[in-house]
Amino acid sequence: MLRVCRAVLGPTAAAEDAWSETFLSAMQAYPALRADSNVEAWLVTIAHRKALDQLRAEARRAIPTDNLPEQPTTDGLPGDGQSQLWNALHALPVKQRQTIAYHYLAGLPYTEVAQVLGGSPQAARRAAADGIATLRKTYLKGEDR
């Protein structure tokens, strides 16, 4: 779930906050959860809301500038590919990051991704496919394949 938050928010303190708040909320709400609930999708739904809170907070803090600051990284060594992948993910539009995080990292099918995000499963699939195509171009570019 931390990877899901990081995919949406970058490997940042905001992602860690979103993760913590997701599990706190989940623990708070757990007694009311029905026994037959899809726990995985339920957790992603909470994480989605917590990540949105962080994105909104970021937007409020943001000051328009010509130079984007470098993304801070908290894991991985420089040049090992991990931080570049996080950064390549973070450069995608939010919707694409979200669909990739919930489908590829959390393992939800597109029908459930669509329920989390609103919109149709087709739109979710398209957003993820567009994002993956961009990642292949930006991140895998120049690698021997």
Binding site: W19, L24, V39, L43, D75, H103, Y104
Partner: protein, 209 residues
């Protein structure tokens, strides 16, 4: 509250397969932060930790009311935690702080510096006659033993010797509630939840002045 790692989904491996699971230091730090926040919010129903002792690693678990479970490695700590999640609450986290006093007193006990535990206990995992037996076990003082028959008599059911054996075998708080001090009438050491060897270790420790 654990999640299984997601299964690889249609072709994402090429990109995401190389992302390792989060490093241990980050996991530990975030876990500790979550445990503290959950404790603060009053939603940490069961806190647990393990403690290395001369009788192997012991699992210690406590609710808000007190120590609720002590388990030997032979009981399989993962299974014990699963049972706690089912019978007490799924809001269960490794959170050592709540078990500081229990861990400290057990360390004192195992180094011969403590003969009596002074801890709040949550006996919810023992019911009826078994619970009755546990309360009488606590009357058997450090360094002494009692027979199953004597405990049955003390519990008011002299013929329930076998039931006393069951109560000892299912004691949720071994070591703390001293079922190891109950031996057979013929002096044989009898069974023990942590194994006969552990029972011998505890009785030898307590017999050492």
């Amino acid at each position: 509250m654990t999640t299984t790692p997601p299964k690889p989904v249609d072709g994402g491996d090429e990109l995401f397969g190389r992302l390792p699971q989060t490093d241990q230091a980050t996991q530990d730090r975030l876990h500790a932060r979550l445990a503290a926040a959950a404790q603060q919010a009053g939603i940490l129903d069961v806190a647990y930790r393990t403690l290395d002792t001369p009788v192997g690693p012991l699992l210690l678990a406590a609710t808000e009311h007190g120590l609720v479970r002590v388990a030997y490695a032979s009981e399989d700590h993962d299974k014990v935690l699963d049972r706690l999640a089912e019978t007490v609450s799924s809001r269960l986290l490794r959170a050592p702080a709540r078990l500081d006093a229990a861990a400290r007193q057990l360390e004192e006990y195992f180094t011969g510096r403590r003969s009596l535990f002074d801890l709040p206990l949550d006996l919810r995992l023992a019911r009826g006659f078994r619970r009755e037996v546990l309360s009488h076990l606590r009357d058997i003082t450090y360094g002494t033993t009692a027979s199953y028959a004597a405990v049955a008599t003390a519990a008011g059911s002299p013929r329930a010797v076998r039931a006393v054996g069951t109560a000892c075998a299912t004691n949720p708080l071994p070591v703390i509630v001293p079922c190891h001090r109950v031996i057979r009438s013929d002096g044989a050491i009898g069974h023990y939840v942590g194994g006969a060897e552990a029972k011998k270790t505890l009785l030898t420790l307590e017999a050492t002045p």
